[in-house]
């Protein structure tokens, strides 16, 4: 009679371990997807800028571009922003009288379409071809899965917004 009890216990342990691993795999899948998106978005941005610079035959004026990394804070035109800055510019304090949103550069790139629509699993065959060409071979199957939105239920957007 001892054996079934033990086996039952062992099965339960394995079941717990299985759940744990599934959970970790889910997290790691979305981590990998995010890294893939970042690679694709960054490469596409660089390609776009290179093309434009080649067409116009000169780099854009230095004060017309914003280099990565950055974050943006956007709010209504009517919002009053009160800003205090330390003398050395190491510390800032902003007070808004209304809601605002914060987005990181990767989110901005996604919204610019630099992730080929992969971030929402909506990717045309043409975009998919481009996206696949921008990642190492080993990652291509993941890109295809993302394009079909097949793991999109796992993926949670990295938007950091507030207000």
């Amino acid at each position: 009679i001892g054996l079934p009890t033990n086996s039952a216990q062992e099965c339960q342990n394995l079941e717990v371990e299985r759940q744990r691993r599934l959970e970790r795999i889910k997290q790691k899948q979305s981590q990998l997807q995010e890294l893939i998106l970042q690679q694709i978005a960054f490469k596409k941005l660089v390609q776009r800028n290179r093309q434009v610079e080649q067409q116009t035959k000169r780099p854009p004026p230095p004060n017309s571009v914003i280099h990565l990394p950055f974050i943006i804070v956007n709010t209504s035109k009517k919002t009053v922003i009160d800003c205090s800055i330390s003398n050395d510019k190491f510390e800032y304090l902003f007070n808004f009288d209304n809601m605002f949103e914060i987005h990181d550069d990767i989110e901005v790139l996604k919204r610019m379409g630099m992730a080929c629509g992969l971030e929402v699993g909506k990717c045309s065959p043409e975009d998919l071809k481009i996206a696949r060409s921008l990642v190492p071979k080993a990652l291509e199957p993941y890109v295809t899965e993302m394009a079909q939105g097949s793991i999109s239920n796992v993926y949670i957007s990295g938007v950091s917004s507030n207000g």
Binding site: K28, I36, N63
Partner: protein, 115 residues
């Protein structure tokens, strides 16, 4: 109870197989994540890419809705701390850098190219 036993043993074996398969899948993911992290680092630290890794102000405008919002750009050194107040206590952002000055500017509202 041999029927129960054999049922359990079968379940045990299949669980064992599944757990081991999941372990392999996780290892493969770890490997891909490490490679991707390295790839991304090399990509973004390449001097040529660094030079070309930029957006224009119009790009930023195109990502906010409505486009005529106030768009503030923050460029801060690594490890800068950002705190956002709980909305119920007002709308506040504080930035604290330890490694250099923070740059903050507004995106111009008109369609001019300059920031």
């Amino acid at each position: 109870g041999t029927r129960v036993d054999s049922g359990l043993v079968a379940r045990y074996k299949s669980l064992q197989k599944e757990v081991s398969d999941l372990g392999e899948a996780e290892e493969k993911l770890d490997e891909l994540i490490n490679k991707s992290n390295l790839q991304l680092k090399l990509l973004t630290e390449d001097p040529q890419n660094k030079k070309l890794g930029y957006v224009m102000c119009q790009d930023l405008r195109s990502t906010v809705n409505p486009p005529e919002q106030i768009v503030m750009v923050v460029r801060a050194p690594p490890e800068t701390q950002m705190q956002v107040s709980d909305p119920s206590e007002g709308y506040q952002i504080s930035l604290k850098s330890s490694r250099g000055p923070i740059d903050v500017f507004l995106c111009p509202e008109d369609s001019s190219q300059l920031c």
